[in-house]
Symmetry: C2
DNA sequence: CTGATTTCTTAACAATTGTTATCGTTTTTA
DNA sequence: TAAAAACGATAACAATTGTTAAGAAATCAG
């Protein structure tokens, strides 16, 4: 969906053996809010959400599906505690890589290093656009955009997560859906 | 405020003669939405807002003040049309630099190149946080955060720009302010 | 200095969303 | 498979925000 995959380019293939394949049940937390990220992930099968605790309320703010890279980027890179949880929604098959190995790959391949930096840049633009959609659109419009551009999300993700993602309550989302 | 300055480190000083100092009146557009960015800016005095036209409505989404770098990053870097306008709010004194010279500096100084890439990374985190505040907080809370963390904005920027930035109408902002 | 514009407030009403609670239905788990 | 938990729809009412309009105050421009 709105996520930029960790491109498995030709270049990456030479390093694939350094990834570890892991299977997780649904609702498994891969990284807990407040902890320091030690691994980055790549989804082979399944889906994941990012969420954090906001005064006792579970706030979901991003979804990831097959062939997308997921991590708490700033925690993974800088060693700060993660601001959010990374949690499976469905049972999932994940490739994981340690910090040490990841940065070793970056050092040994300028091509990959470059592509990762490009990824930071693109992700910045992505978040800028997400932020803009919050400013310009009301919840109903944001729901319709989601319906138009990422219908798969609505089919795979429980509705109250989506409500949270849209910035409204589950009740309000249910109303919007049944208002034609 | 919430912007990451283009750090004028020691390293930068050797290149300062390549910048051009320009003076602008209030409400001057430095880059128009839809045009390709040819210059990046650094504010010596004054302030600037970023805004775009949304169905005829003027939507402001970021403010910049003294000692901050401003540009339509993705347009400046990739040559795509800018998604927004860059406009002075007050009469301003600006350092400007052309694309050609800017990237020449990046090529001649690995230190600066590195710091710019670091800037992309930090700006990504910045936009991520902005986006999160849209999800977790209601307009009133966002106004109070602004009041607490960036009181200078409220003193220097017209209120309807701030309302737009907070994602509400000027009328609603006026009500929030006068509701104690 | 004066008329025009911009900026902010307030009012009245409509529309939307939040809150709380209830009730089937589906899914999970022991 | 049976009990428990999760999920989604709906209702009733409160609170918030949007819309439109009018008017006062401040600022700008000639």
């Amino acid at each position: 969906m709105q996520q930029l995959p960790l491109t498995i380019s030709e270049e990456w293939k030479g390093f694939m053996h350094l990834f570890k394949e892991e299977k997780y049940a649904a609702k498994k937390i891969l990284l807990r809010e407040g902890e320091v990220s030690k691994k980055a992930f790549y989804i082979l099968k399944g889906c994941i959400r990012l969420w954090f605790n906001n005064d006792g309320k579970d706030v979901t703010f991003q979804f990831f599906f097959e062939d997308e890279g997921v991590s708490s980027v700033e925690s993974f890179k800088t060693g700060q505690p993660s601001l959010f949880n990374i949690e499976t929604i469905e049972p999932s098959v994940i490739l994981s890589i340690s910090k040490k190995v990841f940065f070793h790959i970056l050092d040994s391949s300028p091509i990959i290093k470059n592509s990762i930096e490009e990824t930071y840049f693109k992700r910045m633009i992505f978040y800028q656009k997400l932020f803009l959609s919050r400013i310009k659109d009301n919840p109903k419009k944001r729901y319709e955009d989601l319906l138009e551009h990422y219908p798969q999300i609505l089919q795979r993700v429980p509705q109250h997560y989506i409500a949270s993602y849209l910035g409204i309550t589950p009740v309000s989302l249910s109303r919007i859906r049944n208002r034609n």
